[in-house]
């Protein structure tokens, strides 16, 4: 049980500290940036509603692009819904969060979580294949993209393996799973995965800018 | 038989697989004359499961009681060739529980060593009574 003790203890602690420090750092660091001086007159009075509107509308694809982006869009949604379900609705995970923040919510049966987990892993692989085969996407991908993919997929894959076991002891697999989560937590605020908490700030900012310019959003 | 109930009460994970195992053992007994012993001692039975299994197999035509290092209750179930054996120790505690798929459980047949020992005892009795008669 030594590896599990290390994973559940110091490794996870490090990951969580890195996550908290990094997240607060990135959010404050970005929010406190000075806006670029804009000397033009505003077309419309920008406001909070404009920000909210873009946060909402950018969740869908503009009609002109719908056809071309349908495949990655579906995969993207599946991946994010899958991540939400497996991370937040698996009972042992809920107990983990309860231990951290004291809140608890209902979960789903394990077989459903497992099914969703397998789909999510499959979607993750499909997205990587697309990244590697689409010339444009491949060209604009850097280390951050691939590493972020890896640290996101690692907990999913290791999580799926736990009930299958492959002859490895449960506590070892659990420890590896937790270690992969610690790695994810450590990386999340500093790479492209920071979109987890920055996505709505950036969309809101886009909304404000476009509103000011009088663009149709 | 009732389907394994998904929710509530206690799970019934063991009864059906064991009944299947018994059926395959009967195949082997009929086809090849091969006997099978199923040790029920190391299976993770839930509350009431063993009783359910016992109920499903029922009691057939033969019941035997053995007294050797404690009692043993041996009976054929309603499925001929399928025997239920409960071995108790001298304190009356269950020491082993088996399903045997065979024509007659080995332990019911007289054992060579015991037959020989019995013959010796009988021989001694006869020679002693002959001695008495001669006197």
């Amino acid at each position: 049980m030594e590896l599990l003790d290390f994973a559940r203890g110091p490794a996870l602690q490090f990951g969580l500290y890195a996550f908290v420090i990094g997240t607060v750092w990135r959010i404050l660091g970005i929010l406190l940036l000075a806006a670029k001086p804009d000397h033009s007159a505003a077309r419309k009075a920008g406001g909070f509603m404009a920000a909210l509107k873009v946060i909402y509308t950018r969740s869908f694809t503009a009609d002109a692009f719908k056809q071309d982006t349908l495949y990655p869009k579906i995969l993207g949604y599946l991946l994010h819904i899958g991540l939400f379900v497996t991370v937040f609705l698996f009972v042992p995970h809920i107990l983990f969060f309860k231990g951290l923040i004291g809140l608890e919510w209902p979960g789903l049966p394990n077989n459903i979580i497992f099914f969703v987990g397998v789909i999510t892993a499959g979607v993750g692989v499909a997205l990587l294949v697309r990244r590697l085969t689409n010339p444009v996407l491949k060209l604009i991908s850097n280390f951050d993209d691939y590493f972020s993919w890896l640290v996101t997929m690692a907990p999913i894959i290791t999580g799926i393996i736990i009930p299958i076991r492959f002859g490895v002891r449960y506590e070892t697999l659990l420890a590896v799973h937790i270690l992969s989560v610690a790695l994810l937590l450590t990386w999340l605020p500093f790479g492209k995965l920071a979109h987890a908490f920055l996505v709505f700030f950036s969309r809101g900012t886009t909304g404000l800018v476009l509103e000011r310019r009088g663009a149709k959003t | 038989m009732s389907a394994p109930n998904p929710f509530g009460e206690s799970p019934r994970g063991n009864v059906e697989p064991i009944l299947n195992e018994v059926m395959h053992a009967l195949d082997r007994l009929l086809d090849d004359g091969e006997a099978t012993v199923i040790d029920l001692g190391r299976l993770p039975f839930g509350p009431g499961e063993i009783e359910e299994l016992e109920g499903q197999l029922g009691t057939g035509e033969i019941k035997a009681r053995l007294d050797a290092l404690g009692a043993s209750r041996i009976r054929e179930t309603i499925y001929p060739g399928v025997w239920w054996l409960d071995h108790y120790n001298t304190a009356g505690e269950l020491a082993g529980r088996y399903i045997e798929i065979t024509r007659v459980p080995d332990i019911l047949t007289s054992q060579e060593a015991d037959i020989a020992a019995g013959r010796a005892r009988l021989h001694e009795l006869i020679s002693r009574s002959e001695e008495t008669a001669l006197q």
């Binding site: 003790d5 983990f96 | 190391r42």
Partner: protein, 351 residues
């Protein structure tokens, strides 16, 4: 050295019939988790087996392990096994005391040099030899002396196997396990608090029957009994998969016998045979009685952060540290923004 009688001779002298012996062999096969087809081999081996001499040493312990063993009431098949071993020293059970007891131990060691088994319950304090002594001899000295000519050592219970309660944080006596001290002999760990009596007798029976020790896992535990987790063999496992959990000890889930994972059950990470061998002559085991597994056969189970904390919760420090983390993150964030602003100002000025 006088030749000890074989088990066959012992049973014959007791007037046990061949049927009785076969029944005994069948029970032995069950005990050793061997297939029933092994019964003839067991019969052959047991007939010729000679009673091994056993010396039982009790160190920093609560006598719960001895209780566990003796409460598998006598005379039983287990009792018969004890008839067929020669328990030459056990300071709780033996009639002799004081110097006579120690003389019996020395005599057994002398007579069975290289062939006797040493059973140990309790951990050994290294902090101060005076913490635990028997007949004025410190535990570590007695262990070293007794083990020197033993065939093998069996550490009974979690204290002897892993340090147990005496070894729990902050380990005031400097308690260590048997295997910390005995490195040149085979050591079999039979952990549990207490271990299942059947498992203790099984190890002895294996030695008696086949003259060898069982196959062990990486913690030195017999695989036949510690090869699978409680969770994997638990009859409540289907409820875990279905997501049906007892939330408290007296809610609907508890009454319906649902999974105890949320109440801190350590079944998933605990390797033991409770779910199949069970306790009190096969009556039940803790989970069947409605209480989560404490994980008592695993190392340091006392220090695992609480019996009622679910397996999946983190074992990490409290909220104050996270407050510091938030503050640190905020400080870096503000500093980074300020630096950026300064650079921006500079760029604008330089135009």
């Amino acid at each position: 050295m006088k030749q000890k009688p074989t088990l066959g001779e012992v049973l014959q002298a007791k007037g046990v019939s061949r049927r009785g012996f076969l029944k005994y062999c069948a029970a032995t096969a069950s005990l050793l988790a061997l297939p029933p087809a092994m019964v003839p081999r067991i019969a052959q081996a047991l007939e010729a087996a000679r009673r091994p001499s056993v010396i039982w040493l009790s160190f920093q312990e609560c006598t719960g392990c001895t209780e566990s063993l003796t409460r598998s009431s006598s005379p039983t098949l287990e009792g018969l096994i004890f008839d067929s071993i020669s328990l030459d020293y056990h300071h709780t059970l033996q009639a002799a005391s004081g110097e006579a007891a120690e003389a019996a131990r020395h005599a057994a060691m002398e007579e069975n040099r290289g062939n006797y088994l040493v059973l140990v319950d309790g951990s050994i304090p290294l902090g101060n030899p005076g913490f635990s002594t028997i007949a004025g001899i410190s535990n570590v000295d007695m262990l070293t002396e007794t083990v020197a000519d033993a065939a093998a050592v069996v550490a009974i219970g979690s204290c002897a196997a892993f340090g147990g309660i005496p070894g729990a944080n902050p380990n005031p006596t400097g308690a260590v396990s048997v295997s910390d001290l005995v490195t040149d002999k085979p050591v079999v760990n039979v952990p549990g608090c207490p271990p299942i009596p059947t498992v203790i007798t099984a190890v002895l029976t294996q030695f008696l029957t086949f003259g060898q020790l069982p196959d062990l896992d990486h913690y030195g535990r017999p695989r036949a009994f510690y090869g699978q987790t409680i969770h994997d063999r638990c009859y409540r496992r289907p409820f875990y998969e279905q997501g049906r959990f007892a939330e408290t000890f007296d809610d609907e889930g508890a009454r319906k016998g649902w999974c105890l994972y949320k109440l801190g059950c350590k079944g998933p990470i605990t390797y033991n045979a409770c779910a199949t061998v069970k306790w009190n002559q096969g009556t039940s085991f803790p989970i069947e009685s409605g209480h989560p597994c404490l994980g008592c056969s695993e190392p340091d189970f006392w220090d695992d952060g609480g019996f009622y904390r679910p397996v999946s919760t983190a074992r990490i420090g409290g909220g104050a540290a996270f407050g510091t983390a938030v503050a640190a993150g905020a400080a870096i964030g503000v500093a980074a923004a300020a630096m950026s602003r300064r650079r921006q100002q500079k760029t604008i000025k330089e135009g």
